[in-house]
Symmetry: C2
Subunit: 356 residues, 2 copies
């Protein structure tokens, strides 16, 4: 019980780094001696010191760590990255015991941190209680692709707009604000070409804090030659990746990177994300792109904003591709939240899917 | 406070008649003297005695009613129907005072019961606190048509099946049981021709109690000549109304009534229901029929069972008519209930609709 409570303090500390640590995970650490917390640390930002080292720095004297128990949400690293290996430093200061929230799935660590500590005679326990802290990080190393969240707003009859090729505002301010928070949790946001040309989105975080990392904005494009760079997307700062079939001959803004392939299937897109270290990908439409991710079993999570409207006949369904087969994909019972007048539904794919 | 508490007892009594009183409303009555309840009565079943008379019958001696206060959820009737006027009987027994939950909107009463009592020198108060007891009854007399509930089950992407002309089972046992309760609250259930031929529904109440009135099952049909009366619909007992364009020349089962018109618009259907005393109509599909009710502003209430599935591309949307214009119809924020794995959404039309 006490062990879980110290670990919980480390989890709370870890969350303070939210949105700033990618491609690193959130990590928190707490030094405890004689049942009392000596110091608390966390990984503040990518490239800066790790949680264990931050917690060491918070001690009045580094010698206090000697014989203390370290509670850390993730296995200490064993390799030279942007900083020297934490495991070496913990051995050096003479930590008495290390309690770890979860093993690091990153193949650069993957148990080597634990082995190093144990080899130095330091007892190590693994609680397996902190995996929910970095779901996308864990997913990424387990599945070798980003965790994909498909998001859409729809009416009570499953429509995204009143007619094809027409933008319809469905949800209220609370749902809009919530969807900004959702973007914050991603490293990349993906849309299709028609969503770009019809909706003219910026795909930014509206109320972004200064210095906050912004997700990469990705667009699957067939026609890069005729792209209209006067669109709002290109006016907002932050990286833009265009996934297209051939290199652009036209001049593109500096923030734009172009990736070319014969076709961009969902699998090809997630493979690119994997290569580029993107752990959390948000797919924001349109209907055909959503349908492709569903068809190819790559819609891991769903966030649906249900607007209390009926659109009726001619609106475009949220997920649409009339020529594709429609297998059923089973999700877990959704969590519902009322946001203003809208209902938010959050769910994830069932591990075992019912295929009838 | 005490008045509301006696009225609440009358409301509780009234609900005991649920499902058995149509075309009459639910009514409950309580006799009170010196702050104590003397008797409680309710309208048990259409054709049987009214709540006030039932409460009188529960007294040890009818003389007890003399000088007592009657709490009754609905204005006492003033006309000869299946039973003599209740107002007359209350005057006869010498009731001291009458507290009424709501005026009776039925034009046969509409204040005449109150006038009769007052003319006889009996003080009458109207609390206006029981209108929620008979929403469809009130709606029917206010709008001169039934209250229409559109019901559908759909996937998380708004589909009713995996492909057109194919029945797909979406919801679990709890949602199925709930939809049986929903049918119980209706006097008629309406479907379209394609729903009949594709889904082969019975439209009955699965676990019906012996002697329980069953809703009239209505089908809008274009082709009455080729109707297949071996369908499950015709095997289950209870009235069936076929709304079609010309009289049938073929032999139809005894339980079937045929209504003919050049076309059956939602307005024509609700007009027929009004003539026939149907106060609550449930529209159970298909997509085109639902769309017609939405388009014509006749979808007063929605009950949606949301199944945690994604169907993807080729499924048929819950409400569908690609050639019709799609105005937005605003509903109030839905009430959500988790039923097994499914989410039930219940909402009703906003009085003022946002027409953009």
């Amino acid at each position: 019980m006490l062990e879980q409570s110290f670990m919980q303090q480390a989890v709370i500390a870890a969350r303070r780094g939210s949105g700033h640590t990618w491609t690193n995970p959130l990590v928190g650490a707490v030094f405890v001696k004689h049942g009392k917390i000596l110091s608390v640390g966390y990984h503040h930002r990518y490239g800066q010191r790790h949680a264990e080292i931050d917690a060491l720095a918070q001690l009045q004297r580094p010698q206090q760590a000697q014989g203390a128990t370290l509670y850390v949400t993730l296995e200490p690293c064993s390799h030279f990255g942007k900083t020297p290996p934490c495991a070496d430093r913990l051995i050096e200061v003479g930590v008495g015991r290390v309690v770890i929230g979860q093993r690091d799935p990153n193949p650069l660590v993957a148990g080597r941190g634990i082995s190093k500590l144990r080899a130095a005679g330091i007892p190590v326990s693994v609680l397996d209680s902190t995996t929910a802290l970095n779901p996308a990080y864990n997913f990424y190393y387990q599945h070798h692709r980003p965790q994909v969240t498909v998001k859409y707003a729809m009416s009570l009859d499953g429509k995204v707009n009143q007619a094809e090729a027409q933008r319809t505002y469905l949800t209220g301010a609370a749902a809009m604000a919530d969807s900004q928070q959702l973007r914050r949790q991603q490293q990349a946001i993906l849309i299709g070409e028609r969503t770009l040309t019809i909706d003219h989105p910026r795909l930014t975080i509206r109320d972004a804090i200064t210095d906050e990392p912004v997700p990469i904005r990705m667009v699957v494009l067939h026609d890069i030659e005729h792209i209209d760079t006067s669109q709002p997307l290109f006016k907002a700062p932050g990286p833009i990746w265009l996934l297209t079939t051939h290199p652009a001959t036209c001049q593109l803004p500096e923030q734009v990177r172009v990736f070319t392939r014969t076709t961009w299937s969902p699998a090809a897109i997630t493979a690119l994300c994997y290569q580029q270290g993107i752990q959390a990908l948000l797919v924001e439409g349109g209907s055909h792109l959503q349908a492709a991710f569903v068809r190819d079993d790559l819609a891991d999570q769903l966030v649906i904003y249900l607007s209390p409207l009926l659109i009726g006949g001619a609106g475009l369904p949220a997920v649409y591709a009339p020529d594709w087969p429609s297998p059923k994909r089973a999700y877990i019972p959704p969590v519902t939240t009322l946001l203003g007048n809208d209902v938010k539904l959050t769910t994830r794919r069932q591990r075992k899917c019912s295929q009838e």
